[in-house]
């Protein structure tokens, strides 16, 4: 439906950057879920990343402001299920993260919680350094500048870097 309200809303909203990681958009991260149009009324569906992500209020404000600036009144709905996953981040956005210096997330392991817990301290998959490409890296801390990232260092080029944890 070219020129429809929903189409116009997608055009307005899809380039809104993530407030924390502005090299990727909220659409590429999978935060902007749906745009529905019913009888001339727009409904924008967004989903939070982490429960406590402080960027969510900013994202909703950014969406509201962009719509208002383009004369598109809409209702913004926050939907929790299905829970956001790093598997929803597009391949293109993962490459943008890497170029920004953040190692992109591995695919979410399918192990159930008990299996996950058993090998909790031994995450075996190597995280590749976003700077030099080496797999010779080590985890410094499970949590980094934000809850969604872990802190790593590269043993080849000696640079520290963030790793976007699978969620």
């Amino acid at each position: 439906m070219p020129g429809s309200l929903a189409q116009r809303a997608w055009e307005v909203l899809e380039s809104i950057p993530d407030p924390e990681i502005p090299v990727v958009s909220i659409r590429e991260l999978g935060i902007l879920r749906e745009i529905n149009e019913d009888g001339g009324q727009l409904e924008i569906v967004i989903t939070p990343t982490y429960s406590g992500c402080p960027a969510m209020a900013q994202i909703e404000d950014d969406v509201r402001a962009a719509l208002a600036a383009n004369g598109l009144p809409a209702r913004i709905v926050t939907r929790l299920a299905p829970a956001w996953s790093t598997d929803w981040i597009t391949p293109g956005a993962k490459e943008k993260l890497r170029r920004f210096g953040i190692a992109p997330p591995h695919t979410l392991p399918s192990a159930n919680v008990v299996q996950f817990a058993r090998r909790a301290a031994r995450d075996t998959d190597a995280v590749r350094c976003p700077h030099c490409g080496s797999d010779n890296t080590t985890e410094t801390s499970h949590f980094s500048s934000t809850a969604c990232k872990a802190l790593y260092k590269c043993l080849a080029c000696r640079e520290p870097f963030d790793y976007f944890k699978p969620y």
Partner: protein, 264 residues
């Protein structure tokens, strides 16, 4: 389970208060962590917990109506109205006589996070199948976050337990102090019984063996001795708290009470 059921508000408050009180407690380390990385880890874990609490309070407030909001639930209830496990309100140190305050002890922090996250890993996993679809949705997010909380706590439990003589002794002392409080996990409150009957809650007793396995496996690796079960069974989730909760709330609620309705 019955489709379309909603969990009793008291059950949602139990889950929410657990997350808020532990989130507030762990946030005491902000700016005081034993290492910069741990300072950030604890602050991030608190952020997750407080985020989970907010989602649960919002859900409970919608059910309770009459002007209830997430803020009235967090900031304008008294200690006796909180439904958290007693374990989660205790200070970051062992038992002391009188009103003496002590230095925060990281072993106490880690042991508590370990015991609680092991439980919530199992309960959130099960609550994803709650008949209360909003609670199931919150569980679906929380379980993802709890995986990393458990991983952090278990990793440090092993490092401290199987560490130096000093770190081992302090971790064993923290375990001896805190383990008896976990008995509250396996008692059933009226709110829990009601939630289970509605298909909206889970009976934690069904997960006790799985919890024991998670805990015992890590304790062996950490070279720690599990204390014997027994003793007083706390009843924080029924509103009967230790003397410590009032101090936690006093600090947490004072700003909101001095400036009701303020926003910034």
């Amino acid at each position: 389970m019955q489709a379309g059921a909603v969990a009793p508000a008291d059950y949602l408050l139990h889950l929410a208060d657990n997350a808020l009180v532990l989130g507030q407690r762990n946030a005491e380390w902000c700016g005081h962590g034993p290492a910069l990385e741990e300072d950030m880890a604890l602050a991030n874990i608190s952020l997750d917990l407080i985020g989970q609490a907010r989602l649960l309070y919002q859900h409970a407030a919608a059910l309770m109506g009459e002007g209830t909001t997430e803020d009235t639930l967090a900031y304008f209830r008294e200690a006796g109205q909180f439904r958290n496990y007693t374990l989660l309100e205790l200070p970051h140190h062992g038992p002391l006589a009188g009103t003496a305050a002590a230095e925060r002890d990281y072993a106490t922090t880690i042991v508590r996070n370990f015991l609680y996250s092991a439980l919530m890993l199992l309960l959130w996993e099960a609550l994803q199948r709650s008949a209360d679809i909003q609670l199931a949705a919150i569980a679906g997010k929380s379980v993802k976050e709890t995986r990393y909380h458990f991983r952090h706590a278990r990793d440090w439990l092993v490092r401290l337990g199987d560490g130096t003589d000093e770190s081992h002794a302090r971790t064993q002392a923290a375990l001896d102090h805190l383990m008896p409080y976990t008995q509250e996990f396996w008692s059933v409150s009226p709110a829990e019984a009601e939630a289970v009957a509605a298909g909206a809650g889970v009976d934690a007793r069904a997960w006790r063996q799985a919890w024991d396995e998670l805990v015992n496996d890590a304790l062996v690796e950490a070279t720690l001795q599990r204390p014997k079960d027994g003793g007083h069974v706390p009843r924080g989730k029924q509103g009967l708290h230790s003397e410590h909760l009032g101090y936690v709330l006093g600090e947490m609620q004072s700003l909101a009470r001095q400036h009701p309705g303020a926003s910034w």
